[in-house]
């Protein structure tokens, strides 16, 4: 803690027997130990700083030559040909798939996650609150590859009729128009799976802030005759809003970077497939494209292209997480 310096300075005043209190029995002040241990702690902190800096620098260093050799516009091209003498690659398609799927995940998981958090903190019977919280946390303990496997083999086939219904009844809407993808490897479906995966993140953090709602606010609302729902709407939700926002951002960060579940489920499109806004189309996210091609990192040019894609993903998640942190910090500043 910052207030405790802990530097053990020997007392200057002589003890009752006329000797300096510690010098007499040869006790050490522990300064050397302090220096070593403190040095190790600072060193560990520096290693962490170094690691993150290295990650950024290395990715940049490997990506720049590949980007320089790129003959298409990296930001706007839909092509992805990284081998050969004339590489042409761009990220716009991956960006669309990644952002669209993550947005779907958020649209589903935030309302449900907040409701679950409200259930745990305010609605569930007392005996159920803790088991319920543990069960939702258990969702976070399921490895993402198991989500992928389950999505591919079990959930996917069940989801196909939903997609067929969407195209049949809402096909006139660009987001739900028919595409060449017939199975469940669509942006919409990975959005749904991602929603399940990030649900525990939304719930865990929302639950924490909801539980911290000042009792005075709650009792005040109730004393004024509010129903339970009105109390939640006027006291709990406004108090928890920053927490919910940052929880959503953390969840978004997780959804953007999720790799293996998406890689397993989504159907990659072949080169030159015509562009469509449909959410029932396939595609590849940044992470899934890198993972799908992990076996082909043989030339620096190829590797560099994928690293460039990874760098964009890194920046994207960084921005999202930073927003989450800023919101949390601001809330702290308010409540303290």
């Amino acid at each position: 803690m910052a207030s405790v310096t802990g530097v053990s300075v020997a007392d200057e005043l002589p003890g009752p027997d006329g000797r300096a209190p510690l010098a007499g029995d040869g006790a050490r002040t522990g300064r050397l130990g302090d220096r070593l241990f403190g040095g190790a702690a600072v060193g560990a902190g520096l290693v962490v700083i170094g690691l993150v800096t290295l990650i950024g620098l290395f990715l940049l260093w490997k990506a720049i030559p590949a980007l320089a050799g790129n003959e298409a516009n990296f930001l706007t091209s839909r092509e992805w040909r990284v081998s050969g003498d004339h590489p042409r690659f761009g990220i716009v398609e991956m960006l669309w798939t990644t952002v669209a799927a993550s947005s779907i995940a958020l649209v589903i998981s935030v309302p449900v996650g907040v409701a679950v958090a409200l259930f745990i903190t305010h609605y569930s019977p007392r005996w159920l609150a803790r088991p319920a919280a543990n069960l939702v946390d258990l969702l976070a303990a399921v490895p993402s590859i198991v989500y992928g496997l389950w999505g591919l083999r079990t959930f996917g086939p069940t989801f196909v009729p939903v997609q067929e219904w969407l195209t049949a009844h809402l096909g006139w809407f660009p987001l739900f128009s028919t595409t060449s993808i017939s199975g469940s490897g669509t942006i919409l479906f990975i959005g749904v799976v991602l929603a399940i995966m990030v649900l525990p993140i939304v719930t865990a953090l929302s639950r924490e802030v909801f539980a911290q709602t000042p009792v005075a606010h709650v009792e005040g609302a109730l004393a004024l005759g509010a129903t339970k729902w009105e109390m939640i709407r006027t006291a709990v939700l406004p108090f928890g809003r920053p927490g919910v926002i940052s929880a959503s951002m953390l969840a978004l960060g997780r959804a953007l970077g999720e790799t293996i579940a998406v890689t397993i489920i989504v159907s990659a499109l072949s080169q030159g497939t015509p562009w469509t806004w449909s959410l029932l189309n396939g595609g590849e996210t940044f992470a899934s494209r890198i993972a799908n091609n992990a076996a082909e990192f043989d030339s620096p040019q190829k590797t560099g292209a994928f690293i460039a894609a990874g760098l964009v993903l890194f920046v994207l998640t960084f921005v999202v997480n930073a927003i989450a942190r800023i919101v949390i910090e601001r809330r702290k500043a308010f409540t303290e």
Binding site: S3, V4, R28, T29, G30, G33, D34, G38, V42, G43, A44, G45, V47, V48, I49, L54, I55, F58, L59, V116, F119, I120, Y123, R126, A129, R130, A133, V136, D137, L138, L139, A141, V142, P143, I145, V146, W150, F155, L199, V218, E219, L222, T227, K228, W229, M231, G257, T259, I260, I264, I290, A291, F297, T303, I307, G310, L313, F314, N321, A322
Partner: protein
């Protein structure tokens, strides 16, 4: 923040207002029907959301358990590898993958735990000013780093720059990047819970700072730190993305961290995920179940440690 943080004491901080859900007289008079209706609707929706959230959990566990359990009952699963077993043939086990997962997990923990705990000690006990804020910020960045990017980074260093092969140790290095932030954050929380009086009492006895940390602060927070480590380990053991880049699958047992490929449970699942032959499909589900059990054991152990000795305020 780790999603499986040690659960806050939900029940104790919960407010249980009595009565207002049922019609009663408020100072403003009787609640109108519309308000009551909305209240009921909210209650139903919240319950519904909870059930909706549970559905996938139950469904996932059911599909994995029902399709995977029978292979786990076979003792061969725990004693044999997949060496010489094709997708068409039944038999073989997962011991090569289990061993690989445990070994890589152990190496990851061995590297990241000292680093992460020391970083947390720095942040709580020593750090102040600009450097501490920078370290804290960097830990936040590490928290948000996608696992595939961690894999790419280690690939760029280990294979592209240093010219080494793709080996188990490189996998562990990438997992270290993912484990450090979770352990730092949980350890930090636990160290902050240690009452300052304990530190001051120790200083008053003339104990130097480093000894105070080692003999007073760390033992007090010990169980919480262990919980954080176990939960962090559970998270990285289920990680697949860096393994796709750095740790190709192999069917036989491998123990060499620096040479040859090493199988893990995630890559074993990934290997045969598109297989349609029944023996291979069975093995995929069984491997998934094994992985879930392994991670669940770590989670439960973490919670148990947390319950046995939590920091008392």
């Amino acid at each position: 923040m780790s999603s499986v943080s040690t659960a806050p004491d939900v029940t104790s901080s919960r407010v249980q207002p009595r009565g207002p859900g049922s019609p009663m007289l408020s100072p403003l008079g009787r609640q109108s029907r519309g308000r009551q209706l909305r209240d009921h609707l909210a209650r139903i929706l919240v319950w519904l959301a909870f059930l909706v959230a549970l559905a996938p959990l139950v469904w996932i566990l059911w599909s994995v358990i029902s399709q995977g359990y029978h292979l786990l009952l076979d003792s061969g699963w725990w004693t044999h590898s997949q060496k010489g077993i094709t997708a068409r043939r039944e038999g073989g086990g997962a011991v090569h993958a289990i061993q690989g997962t445990l070994l890589q997990g152990a190496v990851t923990a061995a590297i990241s735990v000292p680093l992460a705990v020391l970083t947390a000690i720095y942040l709580v006990e020593y750090g102040r000013g600009k450097l501490a804020r920078t370290v804290s910020f960097m830990v936040d960045i590490l928290t948000g780093i996608p696992s595939i990017v961690a894999g790419l980074f280690i690939y760029a260093v280990w294979v592209t720059t240093l010219g080494f092969q793709r080996v188990a140790f490189a996998v562990s290095l990438s997992l270290v990047l993912l484990m450090i932030p979770t352990v730092v954050r949980s350890t930090e929380e636990m160290l902050k819970l240690v009452p300052n009086e304990l530190r001051e009492a120790s200083y008053a006895l003339g104990v130097p700072k480093w000894k105070t940390i080692v003999k007073v602060v760390l033992p007090t927070a010990f169980s919480g730190i262990v919980t954080g480590i176990l939960l962090g380990l559970a998270r990285v053991m289920g990680e697949t993305a860096p393994l796709l880049i750095l740790g190709p699958y192999t069917k036989s047992i491998a123990t060499d961290l620096f040479g040859g490929y090493m199988a893990t449970l995630p890559t074993m699942i990934n290997q045969d995920r598109t297989e349609s032959l029944q023996p291979a499909v069975d093995r995929v589900w069984a491997a998934a179940l094994t992985l879930i059990i392994l991670i669940l054991i770590l989670n439960l152990a973490g919670r148990l440690v947390a319950r046995l000795g939590s920091v008392r305020k």
